[in-house]
Amino acid sequence: MTAMHAAGATGTAADVAGSWVEHLRAGGTTPWRSWRESHPAGPAPVPPVVPGAQQLELLRRCNLAGPVPAPLATRVLEASAPGRGRPDLQLEGAAERLAFGPPPVDPADLPDDELIRVAAGLLAEDVVADGLPDPHHVPGARWFRTRYRVTGDPLLAAAARRDLTRRGRPPGGRGAVVLVLGADLGQLLADVWTDRCLADGAPAWSDWVDRLARRGPLPPRADLAHTAASWAARVGRDRVHVVLDPAAAPRLVGVRRALATPTPLSADATELSRRVGQVLGLLAVPPARADLLEHTLRPRLAAVGGAPLTLPARHQRWARLRAVRVQKALLRAGYPVHGDPDRLLPVLRDGVEQPDDAGVLQLAMRLLLEKRSE
């Protein structure tokens, strides 16, 4: 991208910036401020053409996290932060302060969010380059099988659908029973948000739940009464089953073994998938984007682990009121309910109330460095 000044004998500020870039390329981890202090500038600074402060700080952090191979270092330095946000910033003290342009910064002062922007762009490129894994062998559909459909909690439903399809029992067919899989409302909301992050994109978790709580009603996908009613209108009420006890599901779909559950994602991993998904929207068409997130990125994120997302305590009261309303609507409508209806009520779970930018950045760097060894 840019011509960089190598460290030279003149000792100008530009040269100091250039020598810092070379230091980072060689795996150095010294912060810019310390580097500047130990490499004093000359009296006549000239504007150097060096990578943005965001890219340089990301490379420094990656160096701290582990050895960074030269190709990855080059990619980091040549990357542009995608989407809206601050432009590539100059290093404070490395260039003459012009009367225009964004103010130069000390990279150490940059918020993690700015570094995540750059890292998410690189990860999105990696995901596209990796492509989709080879498809699993899917056996032919069994002739004698219980016809079913699963809906409700999008993550539970997708996992059950995939599992049953692999057992030769794809969903659909005449006279299918409809299983509305439910969870406590806090979990259900987190699952709906996670599903959106992995599909067509979502706003930040806090923005999303705050807006929901402010507006009152649940979104249709988190409203099991709405889901059940819309299916009842299509197939009749007697064929709609609300499943709150996972142990009840196998019998309803005619299998013995328990249905697979989704691999959990941590709050930070889900947030990272959201950020990568934003960039993937410009690298892959929507169906391919969703497949890449689900089948290429998600397994890598799931392997890392971490604290799951929980509903913020400030919204527990609102969620409880909404859950009680859903519970009453389901019972009033007379659907067969498998499991204790109180399982719909939000419960306090272990986890974090929102993703943490520092954690998201660590995770992003870990995935970038993992890529190197493959």
Partner: protein, 408 residues
């Protein structure tokens, strides 16, 4: 391989829609002169710009995947001059600009010329706020001004504003690899000047002089007055939570802002507060000094960037969009309600017509069902589907018939 590429990267609100419309409508004339404007619609390069800058845009980015590479390939394949134009390219980073230039053949024999059109900040600042309001923003003009004046520029509004308006920085990012004689700064003349002067300048910059082009404007980005903008801002604040982007675009931006409120031309126009003119003069002065020093080709006059002095002598006379004349806002509101009523009536009539068509179709279907042969076939089908043997027979029948009319 193109011999020459003219790359117009903005800035917004400088007659870019008009330019792109003229180029698009005169594609044939341009082609006969050896000039390629590779577009299937007037703003076709918008998607390419989104792709180049990896910029999400309310879901439109899904249509942009690979658009820049396709555009660049068309340009490279053309043997002659090619023109690319979109104003949001102004915000591209240095790396993105470098990638764009390389993809167009810069450094590989193609002569790339950068064209940047610029208008004075006295008009650009209110215009940018108005664009924000027409894109759902609810922030006041004063809040907007405070954000863009903050030296940190850390907010989204400030980042975008300076990204697309700060002329020397745009020229730095886009032009650092090009010689100054290949960088053309087109200034927008002051308001009230000759009507075709801006086109004349574009024509010189793009080398279109002498071509017989149809200059009739079909596209424009109409502006709103003070009470109208205040009204749209209030609508945003009241309806944003309930009105999705796909409904906002046709109802608020198109129907209300562009088709209705922009026709109210007697209301006071949006303007920069008089107390900010000295600050703008200082900023603009530093820009023009920098541009003069760099030796770019200026088409027009850099003095145009100074802008007009304030219309209102003091803040007391200034038409403040944050404290508009409520009578004028109410009048604009009545016009808006009328437009929405007419649209509501049109949709009601449309719904009524569709309902009638649906009813007619259902009646026709029912008449078909009442035929004895249909009743007989239906009875047979029901009987067959009630037994396994019957279902097997149906399957054989469908296979023999050779059609895939399987039961859903």
């Amino acid at each position: 391989m193109s011999k020459r590429v003219l790359l117009h990267v903005g800035t917004p609100k400088t007659g870019t829609s008009y330019l792109q419309d003229v180029l698009f409508r005169n594609k044939r004339v341009l082609t006969s002169a050896g000039i390629l404007y590779p577009a299937d619609r007037f703003d076709a390069h918008f998607l390419a710009a989104l792709d180049l800058m990896r910029l999400p845009w309310g879901g439109l980015e899904a249509e942009a995947v690979g658009a820049w590479d396709r555009l660049a390939e068309q340009v490279r394949r053309h043997d002659g001059t090619a023109i690319i134009s979109h104003e949001i390219l102004a915000t591209a980073s240095r790396a993105q600009a470098g990638r764009a230039l390389a993809s167009l053949g810069h450094g590989d024999g193609t002569e790339v010329h950068l064209v940047v059109s610029a208008r004075d900040l006295v008009r650009q600042i209110p215009a940018e706020w108005q664009e924000n309001v027409k894109h759902r923003a609810g922030l006041s003009f004063r809040a907007f001004l405070d954000q863009i004046r903050d030296p940190e520029r850390s907010t989204r509004i400030a980042t975008w504003f300076w990204g697309v308006q700060e002329l020397p920085d745009i020229l730095n990012r886009w032009g650092h690899e090009l010689p100054p004689e290949q960088i053309h700064v087109v200034t927008v003349p002051p308001a009230g000047g000759p009507q075709q002067l801006l086109w004349k300048r574009f024509s010189i910059a793009f080398g279109l002089d002498g071509l017989d082009l149809d200059l009739q404007a079909e596209r424009a980005n109409p502006s709103l007055g003070v009470p109208e903008t205040a009204l749209v801002r209030r609508i945003n604040r009241a309806a944003n939570h309930d009105l999705g982007p796909s409904d906002y675009r046709p109802l608020v931006r198109e129907l209300l802002a562009h088709q209705t409120l922009s026709r109210r031309t007697r209301s006071p126009r949006l303007a920069l507060p008089p107390d900010l003119h000295p600050w703008v003069a200082e900023v603009t002065g530093s820009w023009t000094a920098e541009i003069e020093q760099r030796g770019y080709d200026v088409v027009g006059d850099l003095a145009d960037l100074a802008g007009a002095p304030p219309v209102a002598a003091s803040m007391a006379d200034y038409a403040d969009p944050d404290a508009p004349d409520e009578t004028e806002v109410a009048a604009a509101g009545v016009d808006a309600i009328k437009a929405l009523l007419l649209e509501g009536a049109r949709l009601r009539h449309s719904e009524e017509r569709l309902r009638q068509e649906l009813h007619d179709a259902q009646m026709a279907l029912e008449r078909a069902y009442l035929r004895p042969t249909y009743r007989w076939r239906e009875k047979t089908y029901r009987r067959l589907t009630s037994s396994r043997a019957g279902r097997g027979l149906l399957k054989v029948y469908r296979r023999v018939r050779g059609r895939s009319s399987r039961t859903a």
